[in-house]
């Protein structure tokens, strides 16, 4: 072996960093409609190619093309557009509230709205999401009251979780939205357990796990795939690949692998890779995976390819580690503009109706905010009591906690 060399540490790095000109020419984007749609009972081995392409429905002309185009009616699509617009408006308002010091922290969805909004529309009452902090669209699309969402963010007296959680860590069983943890990835494996419970009881509910690209490196991701592939419960395992994990580009978590979707192959699970900025593609993929779950055909892994246009959170300034304009250069475009264009192309929408909807939504969100702020903000108004701090540690307060509450003066 004359070719021996000293080893060196290979540290993946993005080609483009802060200060450079954005460049996504290395990202291969297949044409819309190009990727085949296997039957939902197709074996994982027969569809490995789908982990290496991107399922896309909306083409540049705003047409829905190819086998994944689906058959969503115009009302549903308009509702979907509205969900995304609502989420974006809500985000903008809450960001401002954070800058005004009314809330402590916020995390937005900019550019990723299609994923959670479209996915939720493939679920039914009784299904359960195990979301991360970047899927509030699940709640919006499920019709969760805006004011209640805001009260959570404001940690005021209307907060259903009594001020105990960071802003955006919502919880609503009724809306199929599991309480958010804050520890990355931990809930991915819980989603599998929830689906196992449905299978044990023989009840027709499915679970959806959510994880970010960066978080796939965590142990719980593996635990989820191991248990999902073993017991084959009705679970959909979603990866939202928005290219970044705070300052770290997805190459660090992905290593030398082709795609995150391909992780499923080592477990014999089918995987889809989907344009996350294409409302119709997201919905079609979710529908396909949900059908598998409902026919007891087992778990599906879906990688949604998207881009985190905003900062990681309000504590983050992305211009320190990537080009400022990278978001605009992202080749999959803006999910709202794309669905809007599609509806217009279908003759089911117009710029005027869009502007009007925008105005309505802005009004609605502003009104909700007013209502929420009237209850209180983090620092003023009606806020949860210190007494609340001692509740719900256990179902029944044990003596030592009661004593501590008394010591606190409550």
């Amino acid at each position: 072996m004359s070719d021996e060399v000293s080893p060196r540490l290979h540290v993946p790095a993005p080609a483009i960093r802060a200060g450079d000109t954005p460049d996504f020419s290395h990202v291969t984007i297949p044409r819309a409609g190009e990727v085949r749609r296997p039957a939902p009972d197709c074996g994982a081995e027969e569809m490995r190619d789908l982990a290496f392409s991107i399922i896309r429905v909306l083409n540049r002309q705003g047409e829905a093309v190819g086998p994944w185009a689906g058959a969503l009616d115009e009302d549903t699509l308009r509702a979907g557009l509205r969900d995304m617009m609502m989420l974006r408006t809500y985000d903008a308002r809450m960001l401002t509230a954070q800058r005004q010091g009314k809330i402590s922290f916020y995390m937005q969805h900019l550019g990723e709205e299609a994923i959670s909004c479209a996915f939720q529309r493939a679920l039914r009452q009784g299904d359960m999401n195990f979301p991360t902090y970047r899927q509030a669209g699940l709640l919006v699309a499920a019709g969760y009251p805006l004011v209640k969402m805001m009260c959570q963010v404001y940690s005021n007296d209307g907060d259903p979780v009594r001020g105990r959680q960071l802003p955006v860590f919502y919880s609503s069983k009724e809306h199929g939205f599991f309480s958010i943890s804050g520890n990355l990835a931990t809930q991915y494996v819980q989603a599998v357990g929830w689906a196992m419970a449905a299978a044990i009881r023989g009840e027709r509910h499915l679970a959806a796990g959510w994880i970010g690209d960066g978080s796939t490196a965590e142990s719980d991701f593996h635990g989820a795939l191991v248990f999902a592939s073993t017991y084959k419960p009705p679970v959909i395992l979603n990866i939202v690949n928005n290219q970044w994990a705070i300052s770290t580009f997805q190459g660090i978590a992905r290593g030398g692998a082709g795609t995150f979707a391909a992780r499923a192959h080592g477990f014999g699970l089918p995987a889809l890779r989907v344009d996350g900025n294409d409302y119709l593609a997201v919905h079609a993929a979710a529908q396909w995976a949900a059908e598998r779950a409902r026919r007891d055909l087992g778990p599906t892994l879906i990688e949604f390819v998207t881009y985190r246009v905003g900062g990681h959170s309000t504590s983050d300034d992305p211009s320190a580690y990537r080009p400022k304009e990278e978001g605009r250069a992202w080749p999959l475009g803006d999910p709202i503009l794309r669905l809007k264009a599609h509806l217009i192309a279908r003759g089911a929408w117009s710029d005027e109706r869009h502007a009007q909807a925008e105005a309505e939504i802005a009004y609605q969100v502003a009104a909700a905010q007013k209502e929420a702020e009237a209850i209180g903000t983090l620092h003023g108004g009606r806020r949860p009591s210190p007494r609340d701090m001692f509740e719900d540690v256990f179902a029944k307060m044990p003596p030592h906690l009661l004593r501590q509450r008394h010591e606190m003066g409550y």
């Binding site: 520890n183 931990t186 494996v189 357990g193 248990f227 073993t230 719900d392 179902a395």
Partner: protein, 334 residues
Amino acid sequence: MTMIEAIRDAHVVAMERDANVVAMGEDVGYFGGVFRCTAGLQKRFGVERCFDTPISELGIVGTAIGMAAYGLRPVVEIQFADYMYPAYDQIVSEAARLRYRSAGEFTCPLVVRMPTGGGIFGAQTHSQSPEALFTHVAGLKTVVPSNPRDAKGLLLAAIADPDPVIFLEPKRLYNGPFDGHFDRPSTPWSKHELGEVEDGVIEVPLGKAHIARAGAAATLIAYGTMVHVAHSAVDECGADVEVIDLRTLLPLDLEAIVASVNKTGRCIVLHEATLTSGFGAELAALVQAECFYALEAPVLRVAGWDTPYPHAQEHDYFPGPARVIRAIRAVLGG
């Protein structure tokens, strides 16, 4: 009935009463567990209610949390407490806080069983007593039975509890009481009155200690294996010592402790786990605070040394009767 049989019996009773109770873990299904605590359950209740899992403690507890949130009552086995660390994040960050962070919307009625303690030449990875790593975590209950009857009753209470319970089973007690005398044959439970366990439901509530032996000169606080060590030490030194078997570490039966120490004025705390930051620290801290004016000697702790659990030297490591007697003499002389 051995403690193994008692634990198995508690499973049977709970699984018959409530179809939501399921058991799982490594080797728990077909084989019935490396200590045989779940033997026969798969045959009796079907593969969907008692099954083998992949070797992932994270996965076992993580999926069980999802199941519990769904509405089941999973009872999971970690093969040895020494192997709970991969599941620790799920236990601490998830199970313990789910009710709190969702304000009761989602809950986690989960029992995590694990054999603890040494005395079987299991060395560093089959001997640990990690109870203090659970008692520090808000939202967890921690239980340690010392005999078959309590094991059955406490396990039933744990399964019925609406919150996560860590159920630590002193493996050295599985087949008979162990009093710390490695050189003596141990009696089987069948020859011991606490081995007589009633059929069906037994009530042994969480959070209530048991005065295992009444006495007036000093209070020995113990749990699990150390209850038996305490007995033999007291027998051997002949002093009039009260022995409290805590049964549940959290919530703690502080009332029982305070009543005893106020009476005796002297207190020794026993455990097998390493001394520093062990649960004995909490007990000593509480006792000196609550009974300050009654105490006639400092609260002493007898515990495992602050080293990993060794293999060849395990008799030297184990806090046996000789060390307890020395402590009794010290507090009585103090």
